[in-house]
Symmetry: C2
Amino acid sequence: MSSGQPEPRRGRRPGGAGSRGQILAAARRLFAEHGFEGTSLRRVAREAHVDPAMIHHFFAGKDELFALSVELPADPSTVLAGLDRRDPSERAEALVRAVLGLWESPAQHSLLAFLRGTIGSKAKTAILGEIASQRILPRIMAGVAGTPEEVALRGNLVAAQLVGAVLMRYVIRLEPLASAGREDVVRLIAPTIQRYLAGDLPEPS
Amino acid sequence: MSSGQPEPRRGRRPGGAGSRGQILAAARRLFAEHGFEGTSLRRVAREAHVDPAMIHHFFAGKDELFALSVELPADPSTVLAGLDRRDPSERAEALVRAVLGLWESPAQHSLLAFLRGTIGSKAKTAILGEIASQRILPRIMAGVAGTPEEVALRGNLVAAQLVGAVLMRYVIRLEPLASAGREDVVRLIAPTIQRYLAGDLPEPS
DNA sequence: GATTTAATTCATCAGTTGATGAATTGTTCG
DNA sequence: CGAACAATTCATCAACTGATGAATTAAATC
């Protein structure tokens, strides 16, 4: 019995070892559960089975780790690809289906982390607003008729319904909505989105 | 020049002084801006012009302070009073108006703190779900026809649209929705809520 | 096989966190 | 007045935070 515990040897690990990936994965999971401030680098390191200093070896700091944990998931141009080629009058179903699909993909952890992290503080909420109105909504609203002001308002309403549904189904997990079939949800909320997108709206006073 | 700075004297302050109230007010504001973990007791104390130890004198700890900062705002029975006496077929407008009114009242800070604090972590999100499905939704859905399962689903959809709109208008502050008149917003989303509340929904597959 | 490069561990820093206990002083009540 | 009580301040704790620099070791390159 020379050594009960296989004490960790120093130096470079054999093989690729992928510590960087493990760190990112653990960071995504923890940021998703506890938000930005609620997640410590030491805990990320522990769950990634890695020395805390490795995080600073691969990433500049907590901010960069958060940014990179959260960056990949939502490439709007991929998720919403082809949407602008559909006529606005029948775009809602495809849109809802794409968003639900994304939230049921492996990207879910990252998306949750992003939502938790950004809604959690005022400064970060502003970032979310920028992303929504500059990178996501223009793609969704491409080709919709009306004055820019009106189209922007329609976009806000679409976002409200979409985000609200995602929040209830995937974040708060209200039943029975959380367990309903994806296509059922599409049928339930797509008509609303279709109306906001291109239907009749009351005139402002 | 015996004393340039009026150094704080010890002991009990003259008058009521209301330190407890100042602490609560500062806590509400800070929790609303930076969430639970992002807010330190020391900063609360500083902004309340109070010694950090006072917080522990009045409150058991950070958790209790958070709970009390956030408890008062939303007494569902007051906000939704009288709603269940309206027929479900014309309940939506009053509901939307009540919710928007609440979010434009002084309670806004507390509500923001509550949202930020609860969405920020998984454990606290569960609390939000409990409150929604046990204390708020039953009041909104009282007297709606249908099987319990169906009514619950309708409630989820109402909540989704309502929370989504609140998030866009008051938290993320998307324009032009954030600056639109309250009654305009009522007219825009009440029809959707009315449909979820008591309108035709597609059958589940 | 020698040199370079990258991955890993360790020890440690200064700052902050939530929390506690004692000391001090003003108010209130008998 | 004197005793009880509550508000306030101070000093301090152990734990944790993000971060840094140096030492060690394996792999990659030549």
